[in-house]
Structure formats: C-alpha cells, structure tokens
C-alpha cells in the first residue's frame, strides 16, 4: 500500500532520477525531509539537488523562475499553501507572464500543501487554487487520488508551463492505493469517479471523497449520483462536466474553498452558459463558510462541506 504523500515523494524521486534538470527547493526539505516528509531521503539519494531554502518565499519562487529560464526544472515546496501568499507576486506576475511576454517558457512546479485538517487553523488550512487560476499563464492541478498525486506531479514537472500543484494535506496519510499507475488521463481531463444517473457532483481534491461517501449513502436509497473529479481546475474540463449533466440533468458543484468565486462559481457559470438546456433543475453549489478556517475541530467540521452536507444538498437538488 502506498499513501498519497508517498506517491508525491515517489514522483519527486522519479523526476530527480530521470531528469538531471530537476531540483527541489524549499524550507527544511533537505536532510530533514520536509515538514510532511514529502522529500524524505531524497537529499541523501540526490546530493546537492534537494536544497534547504531560507524563509523567503518570494526569493524561493523568483530563483526557481530564473533557473527554469536557464533550462532547469525546479520543484518548489511551500511549507504550507498559506505561505505562498508571501511568494504570490513572483508566481502571478513573474512566472505566469513570462512565456507570454518573452516566448520563453517557465517550467516550474510549485507544490502547495493545501486544505484543512482538524486543529490547523486559519493559516495552515487554506485552499488557494482559485487565486492562482484567475491569473493567465498558470496550470492548476488538484489531485484527489494517490494515482493522480503521482502521475500528475510527474506531468507537472514535464510540462513547459508553471504548474501550481495543490496537494491536499488531509489525504497525505489517510488515502492509500495498492500501487502506482503507469498510465494516466492527460492533464486537463476530468475523471468520472463514480458513474451515476440522477445528479452530477462536480468537485476536486479532498472533496471528491466526501462526495463519494455522499453518493454511497444515497445509493442505498436508490439514487445514483455521478461524481466528477476535475483533477485540474485550470484547464477545467467543461466537456466532461457537460456530458455528465446531459445524462443527469442536475448538478451540484462542491468545493472546500470560500464561497465567493472559486471553482464552484466557475463550474456553474460554464454549465449555465454552455449547458443551460441540459439542466432539469437549477444548479447548486456548496462551499465552505465565508470565514477563515477555524482551528477547533468542532468548528472546522462544520466550516467545510462534508458527506452529510453534500447528501443534504443533493436531496434538495433531487427534489427540485
């Protein structure tokens, strides 16, 4: 069995092994192996290619951009996604605009340990995919499975564009697979995580598993819910979403991020504009509450969507 976190480590090991242009840069990722151990033993196996950085997110990203212009393939680990706000400018203004301005690609991968876990609080739980997706020039990967964590990270490194890789901390240890895949869907293609008939849930990252539990529960009552795992939220696979809605006529978009804007708004806007006539009922969305992510597990459990709130939203949707 291999965990989501181990898959990320394994992808990095592969990348280092197969491509001499790859190096990893981040706080405490060298001998220590990273705050979550995503780079455990990699510094030892690849001397000089897994480098501890100072606590300087802006310079971390800036230097990765420079190295990429000179032909390297840096992976930057943010200790937590939340700290990328201090490296924000380099990501959105330097990396994201480089190819368009100069014609020279900027192949960097920025790993963001994202999302909430109990007791992590407002500054170690954030889901920032919508921020980065808003900017032109970035690719946003949001793997929900062990297999995708592995294969998408390898693809992120191989791509010529800057990739924001949102890996979910809640899945690090919980989620396990038998083995790592040798094939994968191409980036930009969503996955039907569960086929259904009565309604479509479109989601990504950790919420895929909440949606699957919800679908499981409803199936005991005769409802067949289709669950779509977007895999990457930019590009966002509108075609797969629309094809599903064509089958089910109903859609609920679920995201762990805050309610204003974000993935659920983008999904519903696309479905409403391009798939209006496929809808048998008003589309719905479910996000976290519009407050910072709370520290206390009691509050945290209510702040984000869960299988239960998804079930209840789906009941509403099916009733409409």
């Amino acid at each position: 069995m291999i965990t989501y976190l181990e898959a990320i480590r394994e992808a990095q090991r592969q990348a280092l092994e197969n491509d001499p242009r790859v190096y990893i840069y981040g706080q405490d990722i060298g001998a220590f192996g990273g705050a979550f151990k995503a780079t455990k033993n990699l510094a030892q196996s690849f001397p000089g290619r897994v480098l501890d950085s100072p606590i300087s997110e802006d310079a971390m990203v800036g230097s990765a951009i420079g190295a990429s212009l000179q032909g390297m393939r840096p992976i930057v680990e943010m200790q937590f996604a939340d700290f990328s706000t201090v490296g924000f400018n380099q990501i959105v203004n330097q990396a994201a605009t480089m190819f368009w301005r100069t014609g020279v690609p900027c192949p960097i991968t920025i790993r963001l340990p994202s999302g909430g876990t109990p007791g992590s609080g407002p500054f170690h739980s954030q889901n920032l995919e919508a921020l980065y997706a808003h900017y032109p020039g970035l690719i946003l990967m949001t793997p929900a499975t062990v297999e995708d964590a592995y294969s998408m990270l390898l693809e992120a490194v191989a791509l010529d564009d800057p990739v924001i890789f949102c890996e979910h901390k809640y899945l690090y240890f919980h989620l396990k697979a038998e083995s790592l895949p040798s094939e994968a869907l191409p980036v930009g293609r969503a996955r039907i995580a569960r086929a259904g008939r009565d309604a479509t849930v479109v989601t990504y990252s950790a919420m895929v598993h909440e949606a699957l539990s919800a679908a499981e529960e409803l199936s005991t009552q005769g409802w067949e819910i289709e669950v779509i795992d977007l895999r990457s939220i930019k590009p966002l696979d509108t075609d797969t979403v629309l094809a599903s809605v064509a089958r089910t006529g109903r859609i609920l978009a679920v995201g762990e991020a805050w309610p204003w804007g974000g993935v659920t708004a983008e999904v519903l806007a696309r479905v409403a504009t391009d798939g209006f006539n496929l809808l048998d009922a008003p589309p719905m969305r479910l996000n976290s509450k519009d407050t910072p992510v709370p520290f206390h597990p009691n509050l945290w459990g209510t702040h984000r969507p869960t299988a239960q709130t998804i079930v209840s939203a789906l009941r509403d949707l099916l009733r409409l």
Partner: protein
Amino acid sequence: MLQSAEMPRHTVKASDFSETYRRAFRWMLLARTTEEKIASVFRSGGKITGGVFLGKGQEAISVATGIALRNGDIFAPLIRDQAGRLAFGESLLDCTLTYLGARSGPMRGRDGNVHRGRPLEGLLPMISHLGAMISVVNGMLMAHRFQGKKNTVGAASLGDGATSTGAFHESINQAAVENLPLVLVVTNNQYAYSTPNDRQFACADLVDKAIGYGIRGHSVDGTDLGACLRVIGSAVELARQGEGPQLVVATNLRLVGHGEHDDAHYIAPHLKEMPLGRDSLAVAEAELLQNAWADSETIEGWTRDSISQVEKAIAHSLREPSPDPATEDWCALSSRHLAEGLSSNGSRG
C-alpha cells in the same frame, strides 16, 4: 492567582535588581511548568489538537521582554514566548483555554495555541506568516504618536529564521524611517525548524543588520537572565526615550523540537555542549542560589505554587465547553449587515 495577587501586571521596574530577577525567575518557572503540562496533556492525546510549540530554554530572553514593558505598551510575541506573555500580563487561563480549545478562551476556538492575543490590551495575536507582526506593532506606535500618547514602546519577538522574510526587512526599515520606539528581539536559537543558521544567513552575527537600518543593535547571551534583563531593559528604555528602534539579538539554543511532534535529532551535538546550549532556567536558578537571592526552599515553594496554578488553570479549562458550531457566529465582518450568506448555511456565497 499569583498573577493578580503577588505580581501585579506591568509593575513599575523594581529599583532592586534582585527583586526583578526573582520576579522574572518566577514567570520563567511558571512558563516552564505550564508548557510541560501542556506537552503532557498533548501527549496523553485527545485534548489538544494542532501544534504545540514550546519555549524551553528561551524563557530568559522572553521574560526579559515581557517584564520590561508596562501598561500601554505593545507586545507581539511569537511561538516561544510563554514567559514573556505571562510577564506582560496575559493570564494563564488565556493560555490554557486556548490550548484546550475552550469557547470561553480569547480565540473562542477560532484560532488556537500560540495564536492567542488581546489587541486592545496591547497583546497581538500572531498570524503564522513570519515577520508579519512587526509592521502591525509599528502601526500601533504610529497611532500612539498621532494620538499624543507618549513614552510607549512596542516589542516584537522574532527567530533567526524569520529574519529572512521580506516582512522583517520592510518593517524594521519602516520603524527606522519613522523613528518608532520599536524593540525587535531576535532570538537566534541556531535553528529555524531543522534549518541551521548557515543555510539561513551569511553575516557573522545577526546584530550586524542593525547598522544597515541605521538603528542601534544590542547583543545578549540569551541563556543569562541577568544579561537579558539588563540588555532588553536598556533597549526598551532607549526606545522609550525617543532613541528609535532597537535591535536586540539573543543567542541560545532551542532545547526542544520545533514543535512537540519533532524530536530535533538534527541539532548538532556540539552545540548542546557550548555555553549557548545551557538551559536559561537552570542557569537562573543557580544564579539565585549563588547570590543568595533565594534559597532552595523558597524556590521549591515557587515551584509548588506554579504547579498548583497550572493544575488549576488546566482543570478549569478542561471543564469549559467547546465551541458549538450551531451557535457559532459565522460572520467575518464587524458590519454584520454587509456579510453574505449568513442564513444560507454555506450553500452559496
């Protein structure tokens, strides 16, 4: 409790150094006792979620900061400042209620552990982003200036690692340009999480940074309470007298893991043998005894008293109710009428 009874908040500086030393020592003792208890509650499982970050070894520099401040001053502690918080006037209950996630704590379960604070009482609740609190202190001091409040001081704590942040640089420069009474206390405990100094900065001594900002720098042995009291005391005094920002760099060693999840195996053994590797609490106790400022019986009494305070605070906090999501006010705005989706239970923006 000792805090309110025997040790009034923000006592005016005792003319008698030994008296200050004793007071400081007692806060250190209380801080250590508190943190040991917190750690043991954490290890026993189930009661404390999230990280537990301790200040073991850093009590001397921390308490010296807290004790040098007085009513109306500002303090922005970081993760290793239990002693300074107590000396500044934070109640022990604020600490234990927050760690235990009680609804009645100052953060009401919304944030936890070291993130607590009470801005209206001059105690800032840290956000995690390192370096981000310093400019907030600057702004509070600017407000004092606008408001004609005189002779206040703001102190901010920082680690060696946090000196690499852009926020550190912008805010210390801002304080220098505005000539603010900021005392920035950098504790160089040799590591930022697992990262040693030589991967963090390349100057011979962090205090060398002061000259580049045109401000005064002070060095101090962070394991020596007496030195900390004197150096921080005079830095605070200089700031109070209008001499502008003061950078204090204390040298010591982190005697615990970065957090309680970390066994700190990476700490170079030779550092533990060096003077900077001493435990400031043990050093202070020895000093007390040697100078006959306290005898061992007195210290034992203080220890018993600390334990009893901590036990009471923990016991009280354990009985307090947790936050209840059903009655929680999910509103991030003070202007409630402008908040969105309050009634819709999260189902849309």
